[in-house]
């Protein structure tokens, strides 16, 4: 099978590559947004606790 034939996917290129491309996009978005939410939530919790600690002393 040549490279051009592989890319063509027997004439179903748009459907096959479209599906795998969409899958990649969704997994990157899901993974990245969860990671970003966690980093932000941790930073905001830390800020609040530090502010509470300094106001006490």
């Amino acid at each position: 099978v040549s490279f051009a034939e592989f890319i063509d996917m027997g004439g179903y290129a748009g459907y096959v590559w479209g599906s795998y491309g969409l899958g990649l996009l969704i997994f990157v978005l899901v993974g990245w947004s969860a990671r970003r939410n966690y980093i932000e939530a941790l930073a905001s919790a830390r800020r609040k606790l530090q502010a509470a600690a300094t106001s006490k002393t």
Binding site: G10, G11, V16, G23, F27, L42, K48
Partner: protein
Amino acid sequence: MWTWFHKLASPPYAFRLAGILRPWFFWPAVIAMLIATFGGLVIVPADYQQKDAFRILYLHASAGIMSMMVYGVMAIAAAVGLIWRMKLAHAVAASCASIGAAFTALTLATGSMWGRPMWGTWWEWDPRITSELVLLFMYVGYIALRSSFDDISRADRASAVLAIVGAVDVPIVHYSVIWWNSLHQGPTLMTKGAITGSMVWPWLTMLLGYTLFFAAVLCDRIRVEILKRERNASWLNEMIVDARAS
């Protein structure tokens, strides 16, 4: 006997454990998904009936199984939270929703992209497809209901009821191809001889990768939910202010 359960249900322990486990889920997930994609697109030969379009099914059927499995985890966690008033179980349920919605949307979209060349239509009001769409609405409704409450424990209780009631749809999705005369093809994994070994391994590898990926994302989402619920806890102070946690 139940000490492990109580330990797991304690927020500081679960928070730490999620942080330790996440990379052990995430990187194997990436490797499994890459191997499965390479297998499905390059190694496995084209199907004799569906030609190369069947390669979409490695993604579609794995995402479909995950859409139901994640809902099952969410509904069970919601029930545990409701019955034993366990905050951590509610945190798990809340963490599942967005991941499950993503898997369901991917199932519908890739099914559409497979259906266009194979059935000649992007969409059909078929029992399997309609019940999967209802599953997407359940996830979206769950997320919308949660966001309508300011008080997190009220959001937990109300959304848990919705998650449990909505679980009725999961067996409907699964059995729709058996109960009704559906255009959608029947179950493959549970039917002997429906798929040959040389073609099934990328599917099982993809499913493994998706499951690990779900676990990895859950580790991040659970920690966000724990942080929301434990704002003023002393353990949190010790962990993230005194000794800077990663």
